[in-house]
Structure formats: structure tokens, C-alpha cells
């Protein structure tokens, strides 16, 4: 079955906690928890692509066993609600006058996200022979001030449901939440483990890669195993043997390439073209303005520019980003940044 999967990153997805690449200590702790059949709310902190969600899902799967499907849910805190869900939230917020209690006829002001995505799941008791349900909340930091609403939820419904909160930014989580959770720091796999995983894949897929190139792979992907596997697969298409030139050739992913082009066009001073490209990037990859700014910042550092120019450009990007927070039309703010970059290029 797994032989037919054309995408390696899916093919080599771990199917149990033991298969997870490296991080043995952490896996051991989680396995102990499964044996004990009890755990407090958990908070997973770690960089992007380090496998937090995969580990959390596998953990829940093993903890819940055959009752996994009915007692597990994964929600994305950064996914905006669609109109239907918003409508539902609005109607749910109103408590009918036919109900008994002091709240009858009033409106509850729970944030819509929690009203629609969280409450319906955690309010109900666990089904089957498990102590509680498990709810995974991804990108928890995106909730901002709505985190406050979680404080009570975690206490009131703790009996029904334990939560695994996943975040990349520990600093964005408010203290009361942190104090209610057991914290797991999840780092990318160590090089040794990374190497083991890659060699396993290399052997199975019948390609060759030298050890120092594995090192290179580790370095350029920052240990993100899924990204490394993607890169490996792309490189394997051009030949059985993978060396550093092939790796570098395939490294450039299309988004960063486009953003780099965007910067170059700006520095040539062609505003109209730049705006067109930036719109294309936004609509093709569904980036928010903030993500575009971030990518631009990242790519700008790779361009050969003077220190003065870099400083100036960072300033411009930061300014635009700040304005976008308060402003309404992000396209205007991005256009503003592009115009300023064009103008700055002329001074250079």
C-alpha cells in the first residue's frame, strides 16, 4: 500500500510514536503518560515544522485507541470562520427566552471562534472507554486576547476534555494559560536522528547521498524533516545520485523566488509590475499582508545590499507592517511599501 504513495513526505509519515524521528526522551515521557491514562492540559512549544502536530496527533491516537475518531478533534486557531459559521455563532449566542435561568433572553459574548469550534466539542462527555476527549488547538498564539476565554473553559470542561495547545511562540501565550498546562518543548530532531531517517528513505527509494550532503540538507532545512524529504524527492528526479549542486538547484521554492523577484523589480523602480506581482503572490498562496512583509524581510537579507540600504529597507517594511495593523485595506499598505522601495532604489 505505502509503495504506491507518490509523495514521499506522506509515504514516510510516522504511524506511531515509536516511528517519530528522534526526540526519544520526549517520546518516552509521552508513552509513560499513555500508560498512566491521565494527563493535564499540555502545551507544545517548538519551531515551525518540528513535528509538534504530528506528535500530538499520534499521541492522542495511541491514548484514545479505538475510540480515537469520536473523541478527538483538531482545530486551527488561525483559520478565519466562514460566513456560515459566523452566522451560527451569532444565533448560538442568543439564549432563548423559553429557557430557564437568569441568562434567558440575553446574549452571551463568547468569541465566535470558541462558540463554534471549541464549545460544541468540549461540552459533551467522552464516548467509550476513555477518561476524556482530546482537543488539539493549533497555532494557539493566533487567538490573541481570546486566550482569556480559554482560562475558564480549561477549568470548567477539564473533566470532559483535555487540550493540547500547540504554538510556535511561547511569548505570545498569556501566563494564566501557561500555568494551567504542562509544557513540552519540542525541538527539531538532532542530526544523528535526522541522518538515520534520511538514510532509511534513501535506502528504500534507491538513491544515493553522501554524508556531508546530508549535513548540508540538515543545515538548509533547519532540521525540518518534511521539508528535507520534499527536497530529497525533488532532487531525486534529476538522477540517482544527489550532490550539493542538485540540492541547491531544487532548494529555491517558488514563493521565496517570487518574493525575491518582487524585491528586485522594486529596486529597479518598476512600480506597476511590482504591484502586479505582489498581488499575484498574495492570491496564489493566500498570504496575508503580514506574511508578505515577513517573507520580504527574509529575502531582503539574502540580497547583496549595503548595510545602510538594509537598515533603510527594514525600516520601510516595519513601518508598512505597523500601518497595516491599524489600516483597513492592506493592498494600500503593500502598494505604499512598494512605492517607497521604488523611490529608495532611485536614491541608491
Amino acid at each position: 500500500m505505502s509503495d504506491n504513495i507518490p509523495v514521499w513526505r506522506i509515504k514516510y509519515l510516522p504511524h506511531s510514536l515509536n516511528e517519530v524521528c528522534g526526540r526519544t526522551e520526549l517520546i518516552q515521557r509521552l508513552s509513560d503518560i499513555i500508560k498512566e491514562r491521565n494527563f493535564p492540559h499540555l502545551l507544545f512549544i517548538g519551531p515551525e515544522g518540528s513535528g509538534k502536530t504530528t506528535i500530538a496527533t499520534l499521541f492522542s491516537e495511541e491514548f484514545l485507541g479505538k475510540y480515537f475518531k469520536s473523541n478527538f478533534q483538531k482545530v486551527y486557531a488561525d483559520m478565519p470562520l466562514n460566513s456560515e459559521e459566523l452566522k451560527q455563532a451569532r444565533s448560538d449566542a442568543y439564549i432563548s427566552t423559553s429557557k430557564i435561568g437568569s441568562l434567558a433572553g440575553k446574549k452571551v459574548t463568547t468569541p465566535a471562534f470558541i462558540q463554534v469550534k471549541i464549545k460544541p466539542f468540549i461540552e459533551l462527555k467522552a464516548l467509550g472507554d476513555v477518561p476524556f476527549k482530546i482537543l488539539i488547538v493549533k497555532n494557539f498564539e493566533a487567538l490573541d486576547s481570546n486566550q482569556q476565554a480559554f482560562r475558564r473553559l480549561m477549568e470548567i470542561y477539564g473533566k470532559n476534555c483535555r487540550m493540547i495547545l500547540i504554538t510556535t511562540k511561547a511569548s505570545a501565550i498569556i501566563d494564566p494559560i501557561i500555568s494551567r498546562c504542562q509544557i513540552f518543548l519540542i525541538s527539531p530532531p538532532k542530526f544523528e536522528d535526522f541522518k538515520g531517517e534520511i538514510t532509511k528513505i534513501v535506502d528504500q527509494e534507491d538513491v544515493e547521498i553522501e554524508e556531508n550532503n546530508i549535513k548540508l540538507l540538515y543545515k538548509i532545512t533547519n532540521g525540518k524533516i518534511a521539508e528535507a524529504i520534499d527536497l530529497l524527492q525533488l532532487s531525486s528526479m534529476s538522477g540517482k545520485k544527489i550532490d550539493n549542486t542538485v540540492l541547491y538547484q531544487n532548494l529555491m521554492n517558488s514563493q521565496t523566488n517570487l518574493v525575491r523577484n518582487l524585491l528586485l523589480i522594486c529596486l529597479k523602480g518598476d512600480f506597476l509590475k511590482a504591484r502586479e506581482l505582489s498581488r499575484k503572490i498574495q492570491s496564489n498562496y493566500k498570504y496575508s499582508s503580514q506574511e508578505v512583509f515577513k517573507l520580504m524581510l527574509k529575502e531582503m537579507l539574502k540580497l547583496p545590499l549595503s548595510r545602510y540600504a538594509r537598515e533603510k529597507i527594514i525600516n520601510l517594511i516595519a513601518d508598512a507592517d505597523f500601518r497595516a495593523v491599524d489600516g483597513l485595506d492592506t493592498d494600500i499598505q503593500i502598494s505604499n511599501l512598494l512605492a517607497k522601495l521604488c523611490d529608495f532604489a532611485e536614491i541608491l
Partner: protein, 452 residues
């Protein structure tokens, strides 16, 4: 004589009688009817009906005076479907005109109300109710002209803001002494209760030949014979059965002089909703030199500022080419956007003037270099709106769903991370394209996403 010259042709040639009209096709619940006959019979039946009922009511009133409260009979009224009719059709086909022409033929007086004058229930009631219920003092002495009530643009009056208006209209219909004709452009859901009670006549757009007949008559009367038939055809086609728009276009072109390039004139005279915004933006960028001028231009227009500054954003680079001017303009525009965002957030509407000045004046004054003869610049519609929301197209959505069946990650991850990778993987090799699409079970549309 000068007076007639300045009158819009639409008013000047508004038909005085049904005979002069290009009568549009009409349908009542799917069956074709002759519009003029339909309206004529409607008015006649109403008038006979109301006479009967008034006489009966008189008797009831006399009877009521003699008995105690409990035994009193209710006064009768004309059933709604006989007292009011709704004309629904596209703009400019002659809904209002036919009512006036008909009233003229039948020697009736039209009492008109429309969205431009009355927008609220109170205004509507104060204007109509007295006329509807009572009869003038003179009515008892001389036989005055019969009256006809025309509620024009009913879809405009009774928008979401004023829910009370529909009951007001229903009330009016039940108690009226005069026939009521209503006009509307399109179907509105909040008028559903109204639709259920009254007869609706659907009017379709005028045919090309009918418009041509009317237009030729007008041209003959104006003694214009040098109009290029091709241009005429173009104007008629562009207006899509809108006679009023056609006549307005004609007048505009004729009075603008026929020497210049007609097609450009036609373009400038574009009669759809964007026309005002087009000319406004041209004026702002090409004519305004001072803050005061910019202010005047934005003040006098009633274009929604929510849209206006987006239009300015879209068209800024069309008019301002120099990068340093562009930079200043955008600096001000982005500041305007920021200010507007803060105003909205904190509800400080009194600070709105700053926003106005920044996006109009601030942008316009950034332009220092005005070429002598700039020529015609095309205005673009603000197509791109980044709302910051993550929304997928239909194809993307089904693609994401198919992927999630096999590989459960978030939509964002699929679009931003996996899709670009799959594109790269499949772009070089047909084998992989087949493998991937087979495994994920993608259909042709979803496959297209990969090859895009």
C-alpha cells in the same frame, strides 16, 4: 427657445400619450399581456370598485351610528390585488413614463413619490396618507381630476434601514381612495410580504427596433441628420434596452459636438454606475491643483468614500508616473487608510475630515508635474481587494478536501506549502503528474491547479 435647449431630451420628449410610447413587453405570472391595456383595465376596475365600496361604507356608517359599539360593522375596502399593481423591470424602459402618459390620457393627476424624495416611513406617510384618506375641500364642490398614486423606485425606498415602511405601504394599499402603481427595478426579499398581496407585472427590456424608432423620431425633431448610423447602433447596443440611457447618450454626444472621436465620447459618457467615479477621479488627478479644489471635488460627489479611496489606490500609478511623487502620494494614502482604520475602530467619526483630506488632497497634491496635454487615460476598476481573509476558490477548495482525505494538514499548509511542492514535482514529469493525481483521486479541474 433657449429654455427648451437646456432641458434634457429625456424630459423634453417624455411621451404625453400612450400612442407616442414604445410600449415594452410585459408579463403577468408568465403570460404575456399588453401593458397599456392591462393598466387601463386596472384603473377602471379600481374606480368602479371604490365607488361601490364607498357607497356601501356610507350605509355602514349610517348603520353604525344607530347601534352600540359591539354590533358595529366594519367598513369595507378594496382588496389589495385590485387597488395596487407593481411594475418590475430594468431601468429606463419607461415604467414611470407609461404611468404619466396613461394618466394624461385618462385625465388623471399623478401623485408621485420616489426614493430620491422620501426614504422613511414618516416621510412617506406624511406625504401620502392625507391624500389617500381625505378628499380636498374643493372635491365636494367641483368634480376635480381623479388621482393616481405612483410610488416610484420602491426597492430604493424600503431598504433594510426602514423595515417599518412595508407595513406602511400595506396600510396605504388597504385604505386608499386612489389606484396605486408601484415601480421597482429588481426583486427584493424584504418586500416579499408586499409581493404576495398585489399583482406584479414584469416588464422586459425594449427591443432594438423599438428604441431605434423612438431615437429616429427624436433626431428628426431635433433636425439632426449627420449622425453616423454605426455610432447610433453602438449606443443602442451598449445601453441594452435602456431607452432613457440611450437618449441621454445621444444628447451628450450631440451637444459635445460630433467632430471629435465619437467612440471616445461614448466611452466617456458611460452611463453605468461607475460613470460618476470615473469622472471624479479624472477631475481629481487632472484638474485639481490645490487642496481646496480637491476638497470641493470630493465634497460635491456622493460617491461612497469607502470605495473612493480604493479607486484612488487602483488608479494612482495611471496618473502619477514619477517615483518620488508616487511615494509621497502613497505615503498620504496609506496614512489615510490607517486613520480610517482607527476611526472605524474607535468610532471617532468626527475625525473623518482628516481622512478625506489625506486621501484626496494629500494624493492629488503629490502630483507636481502636470503635462500640458495628457490625453485620455483609462481608469481601472479596483479589482484586487485583499481582505486578509483566507478564502479559497471552488477548485482550490475541492482540491484541499481531496488532499485532506489522505494527508490531514490544515488548508493553509496545503495551499502555501504542499501545493507549490506538488506543482514543482509534477511540472517536470508527466509520470508524477499521473501518479499524484491518481493517488489523490483528482479530477481535471483540480489537476489544472497543479499545472497552473
Amino acid at each position: 427657445m433657449k429654455d427648451t435647449l437646456e432641458r434634457p431630451w429625456v424630459e423634453k420628449y417624455r411621451p404625453q400619450s400612450i400612442k407616442e410610447m414604445a410600449i415594452p413587453q410585459a408579463k403577468v405570472s408568465g403570460h404575456r399581456v399588453a401593458l397599456d391595456e392591462e393598466l387601463r383595465t386596472f384603473i377602471k376596475t379600481f374606480l368602479t370598485e371604490i365607488q361601490n365600496i364607498n357607497e356601501k361604507n356610507k350605509k355602514i356608517r349610517i348603520y353604525n351610528r344607530t347601534v352600540e359599539d359591539k354590533k358595529q360593522k366594519k367598513e369595507l375596502s378594496v382588496p389589495p390585488e385590485k387597488s395596487a399593481v407593481l411594475l418590475e423591470g430594468p431601468p429606463g424602459v419607461g415604467k414611470t413614463s407609461i404611468v404619466y402618459a396613461l394618466a394624461n390620457d385618462l385625465n388623471m393627476e399623478v401623485i408621485e413619490t420616489n426614493a430620491s424624495d422620501t426614504r422613511t416611513r414618516d416621510a412617506l406617510e406624511s406625504k401620502l396618507k392625507e391624500t389617500v384618506k381625505s378628499r380636498g375641500i374643493m372635491d365636494f364642490i367641483v368634480q376635480s381630476k381623479a388621482k393616481l398614486i405612483l410610488i416610484d423606485e420602491i426597492d430604493g425606498i424600503y431598504g433594510v434601514t426602514d423595515r417599518g415602511a412595508v407595513p406602511a405601504v400595506l396600510d396605504l394599499i388597504e385604505n386608499t381612495q386612489f389606484p396605486i402603481i408601484m415601480c421597482s427595478n429588481d426583486y427584493k426579499r424584504n418586500l416579499q410580504t408586499l409581493y404576495n398581496k398585489i399583482r406584479k407585472i414584469e416588464i422586459s427590456a425594449l427591443s432594438k427596433d423599438e428604441i431605434l424608432k423612438v431615437v429616429k423620431r427624436i433626431l428628426k425633431k431635433e433636425k439632426i441628420d449627420n449622425f453616423n448610423p454605426k455610432d447610433l447602433n453602438y449606443i443602442i447596443e451598449k445601453n441594452e434596452g435602456d431607452l432613457r440611457g440611450t437618449i441621454n447618450d445621444l444628447q451628450g454626444i450631440y451637444q459635445g459636438g460630433l467632430d471629435t472621436d465619437t467612440s471616445e465620447l461614448i466611452y466617456q459618457l458611460n452611463r453605468d454606475n461607475n460613470e460618476e467615479i470615473f469622472s471624479l477621479i479624472r477631475e481629481l488627478f487632472q484638474d485639481a491643483r490645490t487642496l481646496q479644489q480637491a476638497r470641493n471635488i470630493t465634497d460635491k460627489s456622493d460617491v461612497d468614500y469607502n470605495f473612493l479611496y480604493k479607486w484612488i489606490n487602483e488608479n494612482l500609478p495611471t496618473f502619477i508616473k514619477k517615483t518620488n511623487e508616487l511615494k509621497t502620494a502613497y505615503e498620504n494614502l496609506s496614512l489615510a487608510d490607517e486613520v480610517f482604520g482607527r476611526i472605524r475602530k474607535n468610532q471617532y467619526w468626527s475625525l473623518l475630515p482628516y481622512f478625506y483630506d489625506l486621501f484626496s488632497g494629500g494624493v492629488v497634491l503629490a502630483r507636481k508635474y502636470h503635462p500640458e496635454n495628457e490625453g485620455f487615460r483609462r481608469i481601472n476598476f479596483p479589482r484586487f481587494t485583499s481582505t486578509g481573509f483566507f478564502s479559497l476558490t471552488v477548485a482550490e477548495h475541492s482540491f484541499v478536501e481531496k488532499i485532506q482525505e489522505k494527508y490531514n494538514v490544515s488548508e493553509i499548509e496545503i495551499i502555501q506549502n504542499l501545493l507549490p511542492f506538488l506543482r514543482k514535482l509534477t511540472s517536470d514529469s508527466r509520470k508524477y503528474l499521473k501518479l499524484v493525481s491518481d493517488w489523490f483521486d483528482l479530477d481535471a479541474k483540480e489537476k489544472k491547479l497543479l499545472t497552473k
